[in-house]
Subunit: 197 residues, 2 copies
């Protein structure tokens, strides 16, 4: 039971790529088996149906990535405000995997699926919660060690910052150029400075 795991992972990765670019609804099973070179029998051996595969993408691919690229950099940071800015800068400008014209994979799925699919909603909610709670913790830590003003509401700030991130991804899709991220990042920096003690 080792090759089978590889097949499953291969399906998830290729399917994720297609869905990131084309959207979930418009990526067909036939698309997926064509690009994976896996037959339909193999696909349905590993997944009960398309939605189960979609949920698996969130839980088995996105969650670990989130932990690595989104959560790790925050937790190890000395100064929380700089860390938040640096994280956003990295995600928007440096990250080679996320493409400006395709936006944020998690945000895409949220937009497309959450209104009418409870399973996707649950999985994506957990994903988001994890990021949110981490950022709240980091800010609270900053309040304790004196880097952040003590009257700052950590949850409010987190919601505000994360909303900005998702929203600027929307602009990116419209403009199809990372240029559009720059004024956002500048103002994010200004805003974060107002929280400093």
């Amino acid at each position: 039971m080792k090759k089978a795991e590889a097949t499953r992972l291969n399906i998830l990765e290729k399917a994720f790529e297609l869905i990131y670019v084309k959207g979930y609804q418009t990526t067909s099973i036939d698309d997926i088996i064509a690009t994976t070179q896996v037959t339909k029998g193999a696909f349905y051996y590993h997944f009960k149906n398309k939605d189960e595969m979609g949920i698996a993408i969130i839980n088995d691919l996105l969650k670990p990535t989130l932990t690595g690229s989104f959560i790790g950099p925050l937790q190890t940071a000395a100064d929380p405000l700089t860390a938040i800015y640096q994280l956003m800068y990295n995600l928007l400008i440096e990250n080679k995997f996320l493409k400006v014209e395709y936006g944020c994979p998690a945000a895409n799925l949220t937009h497309e699926m959450t209104s009418w699919n409870a399973d996707f909603n649950k999985a994506l909610n957990e994903l988001t919660q994890q990021w949110t709670e981490t950022m709240i913790d980091v800010i609270e830590r900053g309040k304790t060690n004196g880097a952040v003003r003590s009257d700052v509401n950590a949850r409010q700030v987190t919601m505000f910052v994360m909303s900005g991130y998702w929203g600027i991804r929307n602009f990116g899709k419209l403009e199809r150029s990372k240029e559009i991220y720059l004024p956002y990042l500048e103002e994010l920096k200004n805003y974060l400075e107002t929280l400093r003690r």
Copy 2:
């Protein structure tokens, strides 16, 4: 040529409702003609194809609404910072048409369509530009009349604020409750106050 216009408008309005709730790709022509009680012949008399109808929804329905509900309140305002906050509050909390679980119609279409459909991209870009430019003007006006600090970068602030709006709509879809808007709105208020002279 009066009844025909009514038929066309009826199609656009019902189709928009369906698309707002279900998404563009997953709303079929058959769905639309079923809820409008209009036959397929009538539909294709008014629209060359599905995409032409989609673009018409943006240009003939969304643009006028934007002008009324999003742009008007900004232009007539005395204090720009309060006006921006009030606009966001109204859109998120008071507005009876926009539902928290379905998000922002323009953002939904942007997420779903812009990556691969140039016509949708263009129409949605124009829509967004109109709102952006208005907000920039309002802030610049505030700088002139002394309500806003003169070192504030109006475009940066606009991008930052509008990103927040779109992003918090994402959270709303996940949480399916307007409660989630409140911490965002509080922090928006805090942020806007830092721009005051």
